[in-house]
Amino acid sequence: MSTASSTPATTLLPFTGISQYASDFDAALSKAVQVAQIPVTLLQAQDSTVLQQETAMGSLYTDVAAFATSLSALGTLAAGQALSATSSDPTLVTATSTGATSGASYTIDSITSIASTASATSTHSFAASGPVSSTGEMNLVVGSSNNSITLTDNNLVGLENQINALGVGVTASILTTSSGNFLSLSANSTGAAAIQLFDDPTGANTNILTQTQPGSNASFSLNGIPDIQASNVVNDVIPGVTFTLLGTTPVTAPLTISLASDPTQLSSALQNFVTSYNTVQADVTAQTGQSGGALVGNTVVNQLQNALSQIGEYTLSTGTVQSLSDLGITFNGNVLSFNQTTFNALSSQQISDAFNFIGSATTGLGGLSSSISQLSDPITGVIATETAGLKQTDKDLQTQISAKTAQIAALQTSLTLQFEAADALQAELQNQQESVQAALQGVSLALYGKNETQF
């Protein structure tokens, strides 16, 4: 006799991905959930610290690099004795020092001409698309340079394009006038260099240009020595000085270019040095002590502290300037201040001794810039190395966090599957219970003639 049938067991869900919890699901899974959270929060806390250090290191790098530059520039200025070039008549000649190393004076007279650019225009107009050459062969002469042209397109635009493509120091353009289209050529730089354009160079050889401006060289005398230059900007005659000719002068009106130490340049460089020193000092202070930032205890901060002390305490045993205080730079706590009044009162001898005290970019006070550069060098510097290490640590931590997060996601997926499986088993059990109850009712009825079961 059969009173009821149960749901076939083959409808149960397969337990994909949960076998790892099969032995002791409850204990293992609950523990896994708890444990999974701990390392991720720890890793995130570590990474947060690393990122703070990286940010602080980046800020420090900028300030330290600026300080190294200011100290090196101060040394370079001192090595060149802060020389400045001045002209007795800036309306006719201007001058700048570009690295002069000693004071001097130069006389310029007889500026009989200043340099100008040459230009030329075609002797006649051309039809917009008509031929410009009788043979298609032309020769462009710029000064003593001959440049053959075989026209690809024998018209004005074709000629313009080919001349400009030559790159021989002249620019071609087309003038569109009421009289027609003319070719115009202009030299790209000053100097006496005639511009000619010959048609049919192996035959008629006709120059189709007429000179608009001949172009000229600059002509002058320096300390009585005649000189001719193609440009008005002269930078290869007086070492470390560039002067520019602006107008002509008679021989009886000499001009003077003077190279002399300019204390204002030194003053400005010292002020920059003080400002950048104080910026770095403030950075160091912010990363020191119990209330310090993310770099407290970092070797870079310690090295910076030592370098700043070395610079602030630098002394020389000779001359009238032996310490920073002799230049008007004094300490207020660990902050430097520059007294302009004290500096302005320095004598010529003291200014000269100041250059000796500062030295150069590689010696004296300026030479100490190397100890700062060792920290701030973008490739080999300690800060760059530390930053690279922090970046790598951040990367590693991020990788670990990603892996842990993925593990948690997998765990959650597993939980979902577990829940679904438990759900399915519960439904199966319910079916079985209904089946058993039906069977029990059937048996009760058969044996006792009544249904005595309650479920």
């Binding site: 059969s2 149960l12 991720v40 948690i408 088993l425 058993v436 069977a439 048996v443």
Partner: protein, 85 residues
């Protein structure tokens, strides 16, 4: 397995949270129910079915408890994942 054996095995598996064992035990129990349904009615069959019904209730309680724990763990993980974002 008999109806009693498979029922007790399912109860043990549900109590320990072992869903694989629970699935196997319920499969065996399903087969045992089918077998007893084919048997002639008797006081013994009546008693076995009544016992099976009680064991089934106990299994159901264990599965419910298990689902509550799984749901709680899932919620905890969801909360943690949101915190990580």
């Amino acid at each position: 397995m008999t109806l009693e054996q498979s029922g007790l095995a399912a109860l043990h598996a549900a109590g320990s949270g072992n869903l694989v064992e629970l699935r196997d035990a319920l499969l065996a129990r399903s087969e045992a129910i089918a077998r007893i349904n084919a048997a002639e009615p008797s006081p013994e069959v009546h008693a076995r079915l009544a016992t099976a019904l009680e064991i089934g209730q106990a299994i159901r309680d264990q599965i419910r408890s298990l689902k509550v724990r799984v749901a709680a763990d899932g919620a905890r993980l969801s909360q943690f994942r949101n915190y990580l974002r």
